[in-house]
């Protein structure tokens, strides 16, 4: 059959006559005999043409009429190709499954020991760095310094009861959602919407004690490790080490949204109540607050955020009610008024109950 031959040394074309003998392609070009074993020939179908290459024998190419080639070879298909592709896809799916298992099983399991092994100084420095970054979107409330002072004192009271090297620093911040959260190193941020939602000093102090317990148990650092592991994997698989994965995790989760898991939440509930009781304060505020969240999630705009990061409120309310003990209120009436006023500006919307 007729073919055009490129010898892979120059771009000159040679017209050649092909014959198929003993499982090999034979042809003469430049007065030289060429023999390509069919087993090593790569076939690419291009419209009506077929392109043949024999990688083992150099860069030469043969262009053959497709119909003539099929007639001569009985339509030799690239046999191993499909199998190789299936094997490749199988291996890649397995790799992806291993990565997923690492993120959802390995990293959570490792995060506890890693958090406990993290030097205190590291966590503090990281917390300071987080704090600077988060202060830009979530500005500290400046309306009533006495309210901030009262919050700060509650943090110090809880810290004295807690077994932690970190200084628990509580402050009120402006945010478009209701939540309270701890940063690495002991900073606890309470948003203006959450303060507006709380109906009594007991309720607010319960939420703050819960966050203080997260700090003490180093849940915060644990969540940081988990999200770091997730970001690292995302980076490795998708981002190619560009740091894009870390950025994506930060963007998606946000610093304010480190998830702890159900077990850690339950632990923080119980420990938070213990801390309040140890300080002689009432731990009766937690149950009504959670019950209210479970009862009507749409109580305040932005409460969805709080519920999402503190799930299963009804059940937690029952557990908290069973453990609750009476005690002093965390804030005097004067302090409570100041806390309520900490973020409320005259121009702002009317304060919620």
């Amino acid at each position: 059959m007729q073919a055009r031959f490129h010898d892979g040394r120059t771009a000159q074309a040679h017209d050649v006559e092909l014959t198929l003998v003993d499982g090999a392609v034979l042809f003469y070009a430049d007065g030289q005999a060429h023999r390509w074993a069919l087993a090593g020939v790569e076939v690419e179908v291009l419209g009506g043409l077929v392109r043949l290459a024999a990688p083992a024998g150099g860069d030469g190419r043969l262009m053959v009429d497709g119909a003539a080639w099929r007639a001569a070879t009985g339509g030799v298909a690239p046999s191993g190709k499909r199998f190789r592709e299936a094997r490749l896809i199988g291996a890649l799916v397995a790799a992806a499954a291993a990565v997923t298992a690492f993120v959802f099983i390995g990293m959570p399991a490792l995060s506890g020991p890693l958090a406990r092994a993290t030097p205190i100084k590291f966590e503090q420095q990281m917390g300071d760095s987080f704090d600077v970054q988060i202060s830009a979107p979530l500005r500290t409330c400046k309306q009533d310094p006495a309210g901030q002072a009262a919050l700060r004192r509650l943090g110090e009271t809880l810290q004295r009861q807690a077994d932690t090297p970190f200084r628990i620093r509580v402050r009120a911040v402006e945010a478009p959602f209701a939540n309270a959260f701890a940063l690495p190193g002991g900073a606890v941020l309470v948003t203006d919407d959450l303060i507006a939602m709380a109906r009594s000093p007991e309720e607010l102090s319960a939420v703050i004690a819960h966050e203080a317990a997260h700090v003490e148990k180093r849940h915060v650092m644990q969540a940081v490790w988990r999200s770091f592991g997730f970001g690292m994997v995302l980076d490795a698989v998708v981002g190619g080490g560009s740091g894009a994965g870390q950025q994506a995790v930060l963007l998606a989760g946000g610093l304010s949204d480190l998830r702890y898991g159900r077990q850690a939440e339950a632990e923080a509930d119980a420990r938070g109540q213990d801390l309040l009781q140890a300080a002689g304060l009432s731990s009766q505020g937690m149950a009504p607050f959670f019950a209210r969240l479970a009862g009507k999630g749409g109580d305040a705009p932005g409460a969805a955020e709080l519920i999402a990061s503190h799930p299963a409120s009804r059940q937690r309310a029952e557990v908290a009610r069973a453990r609750a003990k009476p005690g002093a209120a965390a804030f005097t009436p004067t302090e409570w008024a100041a806390v309520k006023a900490a973020c409320v500006t005259p121009s702002k919307r009317p304060a919620r109950r």
Partner: protein, 365 residues
């Protein structure tokens, strides 16, 4: 060996490029690649991309003979792994440590790191070009990009800085020079292509560049103005802050949707001019090139590409790449002769490559 055959009556042949891809076949390929990317956490992308290139190359005909793409998914994957080890891990380590050391130190460490990234961006683009050239074969002969990725990267940083200093004014000249560095480094076998920057300069790019800058600027100003007026109006009408932010969010989305085709129309003339300038500068022997490219067609291509990308949530990227190349090659003309048959084989190209460019998503296809 062809020297002993005696001189041919006419040295060389005219260059005629054709793109014969059946675009419908790229829809199926897009879906296949997209689904496999999903189940493999995108690890399949190296092989998917290779198949796209193979099909685009083999449906591109130079003087009646199809090009051939000889790259392998494995090459890209290995390049990716090497990049990960050499750049990714140290980068992560440095930025993580910087976080621990506090904000002031973090800024000191991370800022120079971004300069390094800029360098790597240029380096990666050239490496990707070199890899693709070495895997492009015609009549059994490879292409080769002979320039230095480091020089390209340094030029890239220098031109980018110049553009910043001149408030963007230098950017079209920078893009012309960078295109020259890239395409001028190319050779078919041992026959070098040249980039004649003077010929490229004869294509006016600045009017279109100014139009693009002014057009996009005006549209942003209008959007910002409308949103500000709207929020002031809503506030006076007694809307709550939540309502105001909802109104402005909706307004921004609606305005962007209206502005998108207009922005594409504003940018398209510059895109077309830039490509015309690049083609005008390119020469192979006595053959020169010319893009028969008008801005309305360019605008339509860009607009439909964006639409396809959004509607398919990115799934149809292979189709978009194929139709873009088909569009461009269909408008590329050449005059004069090039002695293609005299080309002798180029050395083997890099074993693995492109990791860097792939990592940052810079490779154009």
């Amino acid at each position: 060996m062809s020297m002993t055959e005696g001189p041919a009556p006419v040295r060389g042949e005219a260059i005629n490029l054709e793109q014969r891809a059946a675009l419908s076949s790229f829809v199926g390929l897009s879906l296949k690649n997209g689904l496999l990317n999903l189940v493999t956490l995108t690890l399949y992308r190296f092989w998917g991309k290779t198949e796209v290139r193979r099909r685009v190359w083999s449906s591109t005909y130079l003087n009646g003979e199809p090009l051939e793409y000889t790259g392998r998914g494995k090459d890209l994957f290995m390049g990716f792994l090497i990049t990960l080890a050499v750049f990714g891990a140290p980068f992560l380590l440095v930025s993580f440590t910087a976080q621990l050391l506090g904000p002031a130190v973090a800024a000191l460490i991370i800022l120079p790191l971004y300069l390094v990234i800029f360098f790597l961006f240029g380096f990666g683009m050239f490496s990707a070009f070199r890899y693709m050239a070495s895997r492009t074969v015609w009549r059994g002969i490879r292409f080769e990009a002979r320039g230095s990725a480091r020089d390209y990267a340094l030029s890239y940083i220098g031109y980018a800085l110049l553009s910043v200093i001149t408030a963007g004014w230098f950017w079209p000249a920078a893009q012309r020079r960078l295109a020259g560095l890239l395409w001028g480094s190319l050779s078919f076998g041992d026959r070098p292509l040249r980039f004649d920057i003077e010929a490229a300069r004869k294509v006016a790019v600045y009017p279109a560049f100014i139009l693009a800058g002014v057009g996009v600027g005006v549209m942003y100003a209008v959007i910002v103005g409308v949103v500000v007026l709207l929020s002031i109006g809503a506030k006076e009408a007694g809307a709550s802050p939540d309502e105001i932010s909802a109104i402005t969010a909706v307004a921004i989305v609606v305005l962007m949707l209206i502005a998108a085709p207009l922005m594409v129309a504003a940018i398209a003339p510059y895109q077309a001019a830039k490509l015309r300038a690049t083609a005008a500068g390119l020469r192979l022997d006595d053959a020169g090139f010319r893009f028969d490219l008008k801005w309305p067609a360019m605008a339509w291509l860009m607009f439909t590409n964006v639409l396809l990308l959004i509607v398919s949530l990115g799934f149809l990227m292979p189709l978009i790449q194929a139709r873009t190349i088909k569009f461009l090659i269909g408008r590329l003309r050449s005059e004069g002769l090039a002695d293609l048959a005299a080309a002798r084989q180029a050395p083997q190209g890099p074993r693995t490559a492109e990791g860097l460019a792939d990592a940052f998503g810079w490779a154009p296809i």
